[in-house]
């Protein structure tokens, strides 16, 4: 997993609530058996003027000039500012993969769907929850300021604006530890392999029908 410490990055605003995983990465791109290359199809239906299919060369496709990520001022954005319930819908990890592959390292929203939120931590993409009022203010600032950047510090659990307003965010201590150190969660769990084996033996004795 990719490590995450701190980042000062350009912010792109996506002003829509309930952005679902079908919008983040449409189903036709889930047929890939690889983990990379999804960035070119992030928000595919919104980003391009015509329908996309796997294998198309993105350089040959017409961009939708009205879609926020296509505006010149948001090129190179590493932080996505979003609305409530971001990432609702399916469990596809292709959604965080495509955001990360596109270049985002942080998503800031007032709330996230549970599975999406969880999936982000597994790959080193940081989801940050801030209060709805704060999010409204950030949307106003990013709209009115070209080149608007935020500083996100995971160690300090802060988001700092260009005018030095500091917003604290919560993060689970174990997830924070894993993200700061880029730890392999499977490796960590396997340190408890003996405990898992003991649990399994006990379970097998009590509920043998589960092990048939």
């Amino acid at each position: 997993m990719e490590k995450f410490h701190a980042l000062t990055g350009l912010v792109a605003p996506l002003d829509r609530a309930n952005v679902d995983t079908d919008a983040i990465i449409p189903k036709q791109f889930l047929k890939s058996i690889k983990r990379s290359g999804f960035g070119q199809n992030l928000f595919d239906e919104w980003r391009y003027l015509e329908h996309g299919e796997p294998g198309m060369d993105p350089a040959q496709r017409r961009l939708n000039p009205d879609f926020v990520l296509n505006q010149p001022r948001f090129q190179g954005a590493q932080i996505l500012l979003a609305r409530a319930n971001f990432g609702c819908g399916s469990s596809r990890e292709h959604a965080p993969w495509s955001l990360q592959d596109y270049g985002f390292r942080v998503i800031i929203a007032p709330s996230f769907a549970d599975i999406f939120f969880n999936n982000c931590f597994k790959i080193g993409l940081l989801p940050v929850i801030l209060e709805a009022g704060t999010i409204d203010r950030l949307f106003e600032e990013v709209r009115s300021t070209t080149g608007y950047r935020l500083a996100v510090d995971l160690q300090q659990q802060t988001v700092v604006t260009p005018s030095n307003a500091v917003y604290k965010f919560e993060v689970d201590s174990f997830r924070k530890h894993c993200l700061l150190n880029g730890l392999d969660e499977i490796g960590l769990t396997l340190q408890h392999a003996e405990k898992i084996r003991q649990f399994e033996l006990k379970r097998k004795a009590e509920q043998p029908w589960l092990f048939a």
Partner: protein, 471 residues
Amino acid sequence: MQQTLYDKLWNQHWVHSESAESNSMALIYIDRHLVHEVTSPQAFESLKLAGRKPWRLSSILAVADHNVPTTDRSHGIHDPISRLQVDTLDQNCDELGITEFKMNDLRQGIVHVIGPEQGATLPGMTVVCGDSHTSTHGAFGCLAFGIGTSEVEHVLATQCLLMKKSKVMNIAVEGELGFGVTAKDVALAIIGRIGTAGGTGYAIEFSGSAIRALSMEGRMTLCNMAIEAGARAGMVSVDEITIDYIKGRPFAPQGDLWDKAVAYWRTLRSDDDAIFDREIILDAAQIKPQVTWGTSPEMVTTIDGVVPDPAAENDEVKRHDMQQALKYMGLMANTPIQQIKLDKVFIGSCTNSRIEDLRAAANVIKGKHVAATIKLALVVPGSGLVKKQAEEEGLDRIFRAAGFEWREPGCSMCLAMNDDRLEAGERCASTSNRNFEGRQGPGGRTHLVSPAMAAAAAIAGHFVDVRKINN
């Protein structure tokens, strides 16, 4: 200490906590791991690259469902990318010795239909799958939830998942559902009430006399859509209906083990004085047949309602979302739902493709014919065994005579990863679970309804109140 069903399931599977904090990440043991072709290839690849093996093969059951064609399969899958994904699952399962129902196996079907059908889903289990509709299996008093691909790999390698305990919401539906009102309508009514983020951070337990009266298939429909209310898991406590459903299924225990299992399963209910983090009560008699009008399952109204007017919405973000949804759906505010004309009808998906769903739809269309304006009406059974049973009951003949196409099992037009899809601008009455933009095909417009409502709409060519037609 009085416990909820969720507490009991959590405690039964707790292996280890990462810290002494009460809300620490914990290792939870997984009893059943269901696998399909879309979310597993990268997990198998990483597992192999790390030199690891599946922890417990007997916990895994695999099937391809998203990419499979619903038409003639004797020549395989013609789309090379879909074929590669299905072939990759077959290879991974063959190589590792994982039980898989292959595409032409009679037992093949949608993963959330075949788990219960085979008795591979049993009360008291933790059930996971790289698919958000895994909440379906909670109908059996399980802790069942969808996971991402990294977690698929984690379960393969360790038989455990790292997770935080959820809050628990009790949604009690009391009284009797009216004629023509189904579990699907209950699910949509609940989502309309609490919103698609209402269950975020919660596991939902469905309780109350109306839920107790539901069949297992109805309970599965309800739990299936818990994720559409934002809850990763939905569940119903075990009763005689649960136990009767499981008895005799291929993976279910037998003999002495059956008796022992049943004795344990009967304890899988929330204690009488258990405390929930949130409680909601619905009056079953007030629930009417539901139809979604927008691009989120919470954008729902009743069959006697109208498309809502964004101008009446005070919240600016919501008003904007409503305007966008109406534009995408090609609908005008205040249009009566019953005046919405349809192009296609889809009966299927992990929400509504079981035998009772097909019976309910067949009952509505018997002796009638699909409206001339409907371009395609599709029935896609949830599994090969559902299809076989329906054919034994003669349901396929009723559907075909009415002008429906009778297909092979799979996810099909719920998410259009195979050839079954909507074209841009086409409007569909669908028994599936998501009406997101482009879900059933780019530019396609989805209205979520129950099987009986979809069938009635197919005959009329527009939505009609299933309570007011004959039968």
